[in-house]
């Protein structure tokens, strides 16, 4: 099974942006153009997160989503402000293959995970985890790394798995946008704790970071933003490098 290399677009409509520590946004480009660029580079998947939908307490903008995926033929996962089964349904009908949820499930209604898994199948339900590291534990945050939950990341991943989530997206508030490597220790723990696929994001600054993460933690996928946005590497180059170093990837 090959490790998925995923391009992550943090979207603050109408632009793809790149936050550092989930703050301080920089404009990268139009979602459709950025998505197409990474599709042609060989992305195995495109991840689209409307990073302000929850914060602004509005629904995700469906037209934006539909436009973003109109020219790509790889899986498209979408999140941001998802609260109801109808939100899931709307996103699927506007091109999403998987829906990513965090804030609502974490802070208000975890049952949405069970309901969505039952209705759409586990494989279509991704739970996004925004981890913040304290001395002895990691805490789940929401609303794009702003609001605490008091929940331990390790407890929460077990819970979302038992509720029927089909995948975990593990992000780190501390490592996001810093380009200084992943929180490998946490990634390793989470991957070995659950049986569902784990995609790890936040921290890649160079191809070596990605290789180290894959070798040590063996996630199902790696989501990249800064590394690609700032043209430090293309997906094609990265995959070539990974393959040369013994990682199975889809070329």
């Amino acid at each position: 099974m090959s490790t998925r290399i995923i391009a992550k677009l943090d979207v603050k409509p109408p632009y793809v942006v790149k936050p550092v520590h989930f703050e301080g946004l920089r404009k990268i480009g139009q979602p459709n153009e950025v998505a197409v660029k990474y599709y042609h580079q060989g992305a195995d998947e495109i991840l689209y997160i409307d990073i302000v939908a929850s914060l602004y307490q509005r629904e995700i903008l469906l037209e934006q989503v539909e436009q973003a995926c109109s020219d790509i033929f790889v899986p498209f996962a979408v999140g941001g402000g998802v609260q109801t089964l109808n939100d899931f349904s709307e996103l699927f009908h506007h091109g999403a293959d998987k829906v990513v949820i965090n804030t609502h499930a974490l802070q208000k209604n975890p049952n949405i995970i069970d309901e969505a898994a039952k209705c759409f199948g586990s494989q279509a339900v991704v739970v996004n985890i925004e981890s913040k590291r304290w001395d002895n534990w990691c805490e789940c945050y929401s609303d794009c790394g702003r609001i605490r939950s008091g929940k331990n990341v390790l407890d929460w991943v077990k819970e979302v798995e038992s509720r029927g989530a089909g995948e975990v997206l593990l992000q780190s508030v501390d490592h996001d946008g810093r380009q200084r490597g992943f929180d490998i220790e946490l990634a390793q723990k989470v991957v070995s704790l659950v049986d569902i696929p784990v995609v790890v994001a936040s921290g890649a600054g160079k191809p070596e970071d990605v290789l180290e993460l894959i070798k040590v933690a063996q996630p199902s996928g790696v989501a990249l933003a800064s590394l690609l946005h700032y043209d430090k590497s293309t997906i094609k180059e990265l995959k070539k490098y990974l393959r040369e170093n013994g990682v199975e990837v889809a070329l």
Binding site: S2, T3, S70, F73, L85, D97, F120, Q123, A124, E167
Partner: protein, 201 residues
Amino acid sequence: MSNLVGVVNYGTAGNIHSVRKALQKAGADVLLINQAEDFKKVPRIVLPGVGSFKEGMMELESDGFIEPIQMFDGPILGICLGMQILSSLGYEHGLTKGLGFIKAEVKLVECLGKVPHVGFNKIDVIKDSRLLKGIENEMFYFMHSYEVVNYTDMLALSECSGHKFVSAVERRSVFGVQFHPEKSREAGIKLFKNFLAVDKV
């Protein structure tokens, strides 16, 4: 035969948008099938799928689509859940009767690795096939927790963590693929082109 293809639009369960888009890229004219009469307007149909076996069959039933599909006189391509419900029986969320084109049961994938099985994977084509011609060595995108257990109509096998499972079936003009051609780059587009070229047997 024209390039017209009907995509069965059933309820909340359907990756309609992506399938339509990829079929169009393959040169098809797509008609969304929203009511039973629409089946008469198309020479072939695609049965997409996101969702669970039980919900999927319930949706088809409430739309009045089960009989029109079973009586459909032309090539059929089931994708992911759409392949699974071609089977006789499903075990997801309780026992549910399927469309019955393929003698098969749909059961949870059990293997040493992670389930759902998600990502690009190889296919091992085990017989000559109109559907998979020219793309035997490509990788396709999988995203599923259940698998079709079948011994009679296997077309391709794939493997996850040492576990072999049926990744494509073919019986006369009825095809099913566990992977998502609409999410498998140019190889998937080629599969759709092959399907458009299939004549009824």
